[in-house]
């Protein structure tokens, strides 16, 4: 219940945060909403020496359109994303995903950047940013760089963030043309985390056939991944029930699904297939 001692700094700017982080590369951790880190600290699974709280940097929480992109600041809370009218209009997958995260208290405080940087294999956001082909802007002591969501998730709780780097922004190409999106999730009855979570972005041709599908999957593997087999199988089809069902079978291609007390590997694979099909169907139904 009680974390080990640490020092705490609440920088006013991101630059300050970066330099504080650089001051103790081994012992410092970034604190955003704290909803992944603090529970781990309370169980003493994490014992950082220094917490650099970026939650007070007001300029890091935003959702805005810029050119053909949607820009989301790293400390934007799940609730801000859930309740954004802008996103509801132009990229409903984000609010859809947000509202399935944890519970209202968690959504009020937890942040998208914190969740992505933590890279919990059962977190919801990784699936959504993969489906949206997001780019993540990472800022380090020397430079800023941009990494594709696909390249960001490296392994269990491991991202491409290098020591000293902070996730600053999530950039998403504004969906255009005819498209439909959906997030479907089987929540764990105790933790609420995704046993499987499927985020689908479906681009349609004028005739209603599938132009391109982009699908993120969480909960199934050690890290979230793009379901490329499903995407390929859907592409060019009329997205009828049969095509959806056939494509969905590819959700675990090349993946040995996780196994735990609640769901065996075999059953998790089944859940992934079923939720994949339902997510594609829901995305299709929402397509304008």
């Amino acid at each position: 219940m009680i974390p080990a001692q640490f020092d705490y700094q609440a920088p006013a700017t991101l630059e300050e945060a970066v330099s504080l982080l650089a001051s103790d590369l081994d012992g410092a951790k970034i604190l955003a909403g704290g909803h992944s880190l603090i529970p781990a600290m309370k169980l003493r699974l994490a014992q950082p020496q220094l917490l650099v709280d970026i939650g007070r940097i007001k300029s890091l929480a935003y959702i805005r359109e810029e050119g053909d992109e949607i820009l989301i600041g790293a400390t934007t809370t799940h609730y801000q994303l859930e309740s954004s009218d802008l996103l509801q209009r132009i990229c409903p997958l984000l609010p859809d995903c947000a509202k399935s995260i944890g519970d209202v208290q968690v959504r009020n405080k937890g942040t998208i950047g914190g969740s992505l940087a933590h890279a919990d294999p059962a977190a919801d956001w990784p699936a959504a940013v993969l489906a949206l082909g997001a780019e993540l802007v990472l800022v380090g002591p020397k430079a800023e760089r941009t990494v594709k969501a696909e390249d960001f998730f490296v392994d269990l709780f491991t991202t491409d963030l290098q020591p000293g780097e902070i996730l600053r922004e999530i950039r998403i190409k504004k969906p255009s043309g005819r498209f439909g999106q959906s997030y479907q999730k089987a929540p764990h009855p105790a933790s609420g985390f995704a046993v499987v979570g499927i985020a689908v972005h479906l681009g349609l041709n004028d005739d209603g056939s599938c132009k391109a599908a982009a699908i993120g999957v969480t909960g199934v593997d050690v890290k979230a991944y793009r379901a490329k087999g499903v995407e390929a199988a859907l592409s060019g089809t009329t997205i009828d029930d049969d095509a959806i069902a056939q494509a969905s079978l590819h959700v675990c291609d090349g993946v040995d699904p996780n196994s735990d007390l609640y769901a065996s590997s075999e059953y998790r694979g089944q859940l992934a297939r079923v939720h994949m099909r339902r997510a594609i169907q829901a995305a299709k139904a929402k397509a304008q």
Partner: protein, 800 residues
């Protein structure tokens, strides 16, 4: 004023403090200078302790003391087990481990520090050297040659017991058919929302120790802890402030309670320990944890001839207060709501490297109801008849009560068929079965589960209880007319501050707001037994009721004296004593003041007045009784009565629960479509409270049936050690409950109440599992073990 609070939906008097955050649970009691205690607990399920180094912890700033098992050896007695079964093996259960640890979470050392943070930090600084030993977690392996836990006993079998009446072999010979089933009762964690907590303070001058503890049994705990730490019982005061749920998990005497008391005496400072949820999962008792084989013999027409149940009970590493007794309660209730000529129960109670099992809401009876109801479903399936009809066929009729069972009980009263009929009517049973058929034809999997349960409540006659089964009450009217009730029951959410006040206000004809119910303080309340086993209203409420009658008898005598009439001519109605009409006509002198009016000093209590009228309020009587200027001869001053009620029998509430579920072909997800419960808990004091008890119980059943399971791995590590892994039902998991009642009064007590605290956890699991199994009947399934998780369902549907 004529009241009838009893039977009405009266809002709770407890609530204003609770909804404003102004109530006090143990951790809310703040004493200046309090030191905080944390525990070093075993990380192994079975190991020798080869060394404990406390030096680093002791040299940490803020740490005041560290106590190990060696430090308290010979100073604190063993953790008590109140269960006395023949040839029961009772391990020496020390408050801190000495040479060996037997389960993950076994306390090894207690750290005392100036604040909670320092106390927590020091836990990581106590170095314990272990030598791991072979572990046994599976109960059958424990019974059959697994590693021996308590070496002195030679094996892991704590006791074997056979019970039941009737010629069991003849019963099975007489049967046309039999069904058998192996049935698992998943180990559960009670998860009271308030974890346990203890605060202890010693007054060296007065030599008095006060312990605040989150317990269901303040008096029993006082007795046991006094014996453990060697303080005279009357120098120990136990206070249970607000208790945040118990469900049996606080019907116990724990190491920490004695240890904190002892440490407070050593240090002369208040000491506090508040359990974390992880500790709560590891080291507060678990419930259930049985695996057994049920066998039922029956005739082709569905008549039951005999029942045999052989069970392995997973007791854990040690006995807590009632550990070995819980499976014996299962044996008592194996007749269910049915006429079964012969019943046999064989228990093998086994030690395992886990936390002890003990009473968890229902305590042994849910296991009985579950196996009997599952067996009835199997009989119905075997015969191809409706499960409700097999039940109906075997009910005793209302005129067969008191009904003697082959488990040796005499059920007090019952009308099982009426409850079944009512539940079937509410849910539209016949039509529902039709719809189910239609749905099946359309490929939908809908299932209907029926449970016609009976439970044993109001524990109980002292003959049958380990430490007295009575309950106590004092009712007194203060000089100002306010009514104080002291109950030996120890409610912790059940609402008896309200329901007991309803009883008393009706009996005395006073406003309910003038009645205060006090409980949970051994310094104030006469000895009592506590709240568990659905006993508080049936036994404790009866004690209150009878105490009021005694008080009224005395008041009547005083009233008669004041009204200068014979007591037999005095009528008490609506809170007023008056002369009966006939007597009033012939009485003389009533116009004169009965009590001499003296010169009252300023600020003194007002004089009681008869006003020259022919009636007196109970408050007038109370004042006169306290002033005691003119009482009838041989009458004690004051207006107070105490009663200890000893029940002659248990009570046997019953009812019918019907669950309707639909399962998802593809995911195995289980969704409730309907849930109807018709419960009969005898006379109802407050229907709102009864509904709340039923709802809560059913949801704990939903937990057991579908979500909850304490899992240890083969090394004895607790896999479900936090609420991340152990799924307690949430609002989204419940159906909309449709409740109704029948009301068959109990003849066992004058209130006619039976008890309702555990009905939901007893009646509901078989209905829920029955419904799921019924939904899967097209796949040839007749039984599934709990918790039935979506994956289990999916596997059935997919033939694996």
């Amino acid at each position: 004023m004529t009241n009838n609070y009893v039977g009405k939906r009266v809002k709770r008097t407890e609530d204003p403090r609770l909804i404003r955050g102004l109530a006090h649970y143990v951790d809310d009691v703040a004493l200046p200078g309090t030191l905080h205690v944390t525990f070093v607990r075993s990380i192994y399920a079975h190991a020798k302790i080869t060394g404990i180094d406390t030096s680093a912890a002791l040299s940490t700033p803020g740490v005041v003391a560290v106590y190990t098992g060696q430090d308290v050896a010979g100073k604190i007695g063993p953790v008590p087990c109140a269960s006395a079964l023949p040839e029961l093996k009772v391990p020496d259960h020390r408050v801190l481990a000495t040479d060996k640890v037997y389960f993950v979470g076994h306390p090894i050392a207690a750290i005392v520090a100036t604040d909670r943070y320092a106390a927590r930090d020091a836990v990581d600084l106590v170095m314990v050297d272990y030598e791991e030993l072979p572990v046994v977690t599976d109960v059958e392996q424990a019974a059959n040659g697994g590693p021996v836990i308590h070496e002195a006993f030679g094996d892991n079998i704590a006791y074997k017991l056979t019970s039941g009446e009737g010629d069991i072999d003849a019963a099975f010979t007489a049967a046309d058919r039999t069904v058998k089933q192996r049935i698992l009762h998943n180990r559960l964690a009670p998860i009271a929302m308030e974890p346990r907590g203890v605060l202890a303070r010693y007054f060296p001058g007065e030599e008095e120790l006060t312990i605040w503890s989150s317990t269901q049994i303040p008096h029993l705990m006082r007795t046991q802890v006094a014996l453990m730490i060697g303080i005279p019982e009357n120098k120990l005061r136990v206070i249970t402030p607000e208790v945040g749920g118990g469900f049996g998990s606080k019907l116990n005497v724990y190491s920490e309670e004695a240890l904190l008391g002892w440490i407070a005496m050593q240090l002369g400072k208040p000491v506090k320990w508040i359990e974390t949820r992880r500790e709560n999962m590891q080291a507060t008792i678990h419930g259930r944890g049985q695996v057994g084989d049920i066998e039922v013999g029956f005739k082709n027409d569905g008549t039951l001839t005999g029942l045999r149940y052989s069970v392995f009970a997973d007791l854990g590493a040690y006995h807590q207060l009632l550990t070995p007794a819980i499976p014996t309660l299962t044996g008592l209730m194996l007749s269910g709501a049915y006429k079964i000529p012969a019943i046999q129960m064989n228990i093998t109670g086994c030690f395992t490297n886990k936390m002890a099992t003990d009473a968890y809401r229902g305590a042994g009876r849910p296991e009985a109801t579950y196996v009997v109801e599952r067996a009835l479903d199997l009989v119905a399936a075997e015969l191809g008849v409706d499960p409700a009809e097999v039940r109906r066929k075997n009910f005793p009729s209302p005129d067969e009560f008191p009904f003697h069972t082959a488990t040796g009980l005499d059920y007090d009263s019952g009308d099982y068929e009426t409850a079944l009929n009512k539940a079937q009517e509410i849910i539209g049973y016949a039509q529902l079965r039709e719809e189910q058929k239609k749905a099946r034809d359309e490929g939908r999997l809908i299932g209907i589960g029926v449970s016609t349960y009976v439970e044993i409540c109001a524990l109980g006659p002292s003959q049958a209880m380990p430490a007295g089964g009575w309950e106590s009450a004092t009712v007194r009217i203060e000089p100002t007319g306010k009514v104080t009730v002291l109950t030996g029951a120890s409610p912790h959410g059940q609402g008896q501050e309200t329901s007991f006040a309803q009883i008393v206000a009706d009996e005395l004809g006073v406003n309910i707001n003038d009645v205060t119910v006090i409980h949970g303080d051994t310094g104030v309340v006469q000895y009592g037994i506590g709240t568990f086993g659905s006993r508080a209203t049936a036994v404790g409420g009866t004690a209150v009721f009878v105490a009021v009658q005694k008080l009224k008898e005395k008041a009547q005598k005083i009233a008669a004296h004041m009204l200068k009439a014979d007591a037999s001519h005095i009528l008490f109605e609506g809170g007023k004593y008056s002369l009966q009409a006939a007597a009033a006509a012939s009485a003389t002198g009533v116009s004169e003041p009965v009590v001499p009016v003296g010169q009252a000093p300023a600020g003194a209590l007002p004089e009681p007045e008869t006003d020259g009228k022919s009636n007196l309020t109970i408050q007038d009587i109370a004042l006169a009784a306290h002033l005691a200027k003119d009482l009838p001869p041989d009458t004690e001053p004051g207006l107070s009565a105490t009663y200890f009620f000893e029940p002659k029998n248990f009570t046997f509430p019953f009812g019918t629960h019907i669950a309707v579920v639909e399962v998802d072909h593809e995911t195995g997800d289980i969704k409730f479509l309907r849930y109807v419960a018709v419960d009969d808990c005898g006379r109802v004091i407050n229907p709102m409270l009864v509904d709340g008890q039923v709802h809560g119980g059913i949801v704990q059943s939903i937990g057991q049936a579908m979500y909850e399971e304490v899992v240890y791995d083969e090394q004895g590590q607790l896999v479900t050690g936090t609420l991340m892994d152990y799924a307690v039902p949430r609002a989204k998991h419940i159906p909309n409950f449709e409740l109704d009642r029948t009301e068959t009064p109990s003849p066992v007590n004058p209130l006619g109440v039976k008890g309702v605290g555990e009905a939901g956890t007893i009646g509901a699991t078989p209905a829920i599992v029955g419904a799921i199994v019924d939904a899967l009947a097209p796949f040839g399934v007749r039984h599934l073990d709990m918790p039935v998780k979506p994956e289990n369902v999916w596997r059935i549907i997919n033939g694996n």
